[in-house]
């Protein structure tokens, strides 16, 4: 381990909070998805750091599974973005405030 684990956790925590703020504050669907990406990467940094700290390989394996999960999530959510854009002509999240029962 090249640095103390706390420093790595601080970096990952700041990055996670920035992604969370982006997800909560922005109204553009693309920016919301980018915030989710940032959060997932912060989690990956934590996992790799734990893998290096405990000298076990499991953390890195979970990161690889996380990457596959992310690609699945991104593909289906971008398909949703295309669908919503086609339906209402906008991707501002505030425009989707009604239900059609």
């Amino acid at each position: 381990m090249i640095v103390p684990l706390e420093h790595l956790l601080i970096v990952a925590g700041i990055m996670f909070v920035m992604g969370l703020a982006c997800t909560l504050a922005r109204r553009n669907l693309i920016m919301i998805l980018i915030g989710v990406e940032v959060m997932i990467n912060a989690v990956g940094l934590t996992l790799v750091g734990g893998s290096a700290f405990w000298q076990q390989i499991d953390g890195q394996l979970v990161v690889v599974l996380l990457m596959a999960l992310t690609s699945a999530e991104v593909s289906i959510s971008l398909a949703m973005v295309v669908y919503l854009q086609r339906r209402k002509g906008t991707i501002e999240a505030d425009q989707y405030n009604e239900m059609k029962g």
Binding site: I2, G19, A68, A72
Partner: protein, 170 residues
């Protein structure tokens, strides 16, 4: 040397992420996020995960961000460039600085061997160990993830299909 590089790369990643989440133009946000992913990949390499670092660049920066850019350009979501203020070099300055920092760190990493703080070799996961662990202990997880990718492909196809009901689009 490696701890210094770690702190520099962490700063680059955090600055790039901060710039990313404050951009109004989604294309600029994606470009800054690619910088953050490159910095994270170098951090992964420093932490003894070279395979994960390579996949971070290939999958995240290569595939997923290009998918984002593709959707942004397909739906024409980027605002018009005409009203942006500032001269040319002012807008290019953050990108150029971050890229220069990343290139410098990459060159330094190439010249530095991965040695820990007390002089003992740092933990290093070779691709061989990685493959053994992934396909022996985590074989079930690999199966589950492959199913998940299949479901995502089917779902994306279903959502993106134009004419599904009423035999045509209204």
């Amino acid at each position: 040397m490696a701890p210094v590089l770690f702190y520099i790369l962490s700063a680059v990643a955090l600055i790039a992420t901060l710039l990313c989440i404050t951009r109004r133009n989604p294309v600029h946000a994606v470009v800054y996020l690619v910088h953050a992913f490159f910095a994270l990949a170098l951090i992964f390499y420093l932490l003894g995960a070279p395979l994960v670092a390579a996949w971070e660049v290939i999958i995240y920066a290569g595939a997923i961000m290009v998918l984002f850019l593709f959707i942004i350009m397909m739906l024409e979501l980027a605002p018009n460039e005409a009203e942006s203020k500032g001269t040319g070099w002012q807008r290019w300055l953050p990108v150029v600085l971050l890229a220069l920092a990343l290139i410098t760190c990459t060159l330094l990493i190439m010249g530095v061997e991965a040695v820990g703080r007390e002089g003992v070799p740092a933990y290093y996961a070779s691709p061989r160990d990685f493959g053994y662990a992934l396909f022996k202990e985590y074989a079930l997880a690999v199966e589950v993830v492959s199913f998940q990718l299949l479901f995502a492909a089917v779902g994306a196809f279903y959502v993106g299909k134009k004419e599904w009901r009423n035999g045509g689009r209204k």
